[in-house]
């Protein structure tokens, strides 16, 4: 097997393993895919519902429904602006952060157990691969193609 084949196969195996990991994690915390993304993006510091909706790729109406569910389950808090009721701040609760940390614990274990000593090169490769995957995951816009 050539180097290119090995990289390609490794990526496929990683993506499949990730699917299993993601499914197990979401089952454990009873989250659907968009709810999980909301917790991740909130943990990354996105706190405005409109920006969350954009990051996840859903409508603002869908975002409201999603936030309602997560708030009812005690996973986030919403605060209306004192002067402008249309503006809302969304923050994670400790329960949600615990769920996120559990996921990060697995990725940290993966990183430490799979370490080869060439972290900079591998890190750069994974970042570029993630960027390509993200670009392919976005809906196609008219007149654009993913090569």
């Amino acid at each position: 097997m050539g180097t290119d084949d090995r990289v390609e196969q490794g990526l496929r195996e990683l993506l499949v393993a990730y699917e299993h990991l993601d499914a197990a994690w979401r089952r454990q915390f009873d989250l659907n895919a968009n709810e999980k993304l909301a917790i991740i993006f909130l943990g990354d510091g996105i706190s405005a519902p409109s920006k969350l909706a954009e990051a996840i790729g859903i409508t603002t109406a869908g975002m409201t429904t999603l936030l309602d569910r997560l708030e009812q389950r005690g996973l986030l808090r919403r605060e209306a602006h004192p002067d402008d009721g249309r503006r809302v701040l969304v923050t994670l609760t400790k329960a949600a952060l615990r769920a996120r940390l559990e996921f990060e614990r697995v990725t940290a274990t993966m990183a430490s157990e799979a370490a080869t000593g060439d972290d900079a090169t591998i890190g750069a490769f994974l970042e570029r691969a993630a960027a390509v995957a993200t670009a392919h995951a976005r809906p196609h816009e008219p007149g654009t193609e993913h090569g």
């Binding site: 706190s47 808090r77 602006h81 004192p82 503006r87 923050t91 609760t93 400790k94 940390l101």
Partner: protein
């Protein structure tokens, strides 16, 4: 308590502290100078099933953050083998890390 447990506790508490820093910054930016200045942060304890929040004023929160080895917790939410309460308020305590936990907490701040 062995060193690995102390490390794990310190890392978790530091994550809660980082998340609270993010909450504090977001709330302050969102509200501006308006509002009553009180907001909810996560209890920064490492007790496995604690998912509770604590209401604090901004000044109280800034005081907690004045030391890199302090955390804000609910009363009694202390791992006595790794940390000491140094301020006991009615609704929250400030705890101070010690030993290897203090070193990690300071390094991660």
């Amino acid at each position: 308590m062995d060193e690995l447990q102390q490390r794990r506790i310190a890392v978790n508490e530091s994550r809660f502290r980082d998340a609270n820093q993010q909450i504090a910054a977001a709330v302050e930016e969102f509200r501006g100078s308006e509002g009553d200045g009180r907001f909810e942060v996560m209890c920064e304890c490492a007790i496995a099933d604690c998912e509770q929040m604590i209401e604090l004023g901004f000044d109280e929160y800034r005081h907690v953050r004045s030391s890199p080895i302090w955390h804000v917790t609910l009363p009694d939410h202390v791992i006595v083998a790794a940390e000491d309460p140094i301020e006991r308020h009615e609704t929250y305590w400030i705890i101070q890390k010690r030993g290897i936990g203090a070193e990690i907490t300071e390094r991660l701040s």
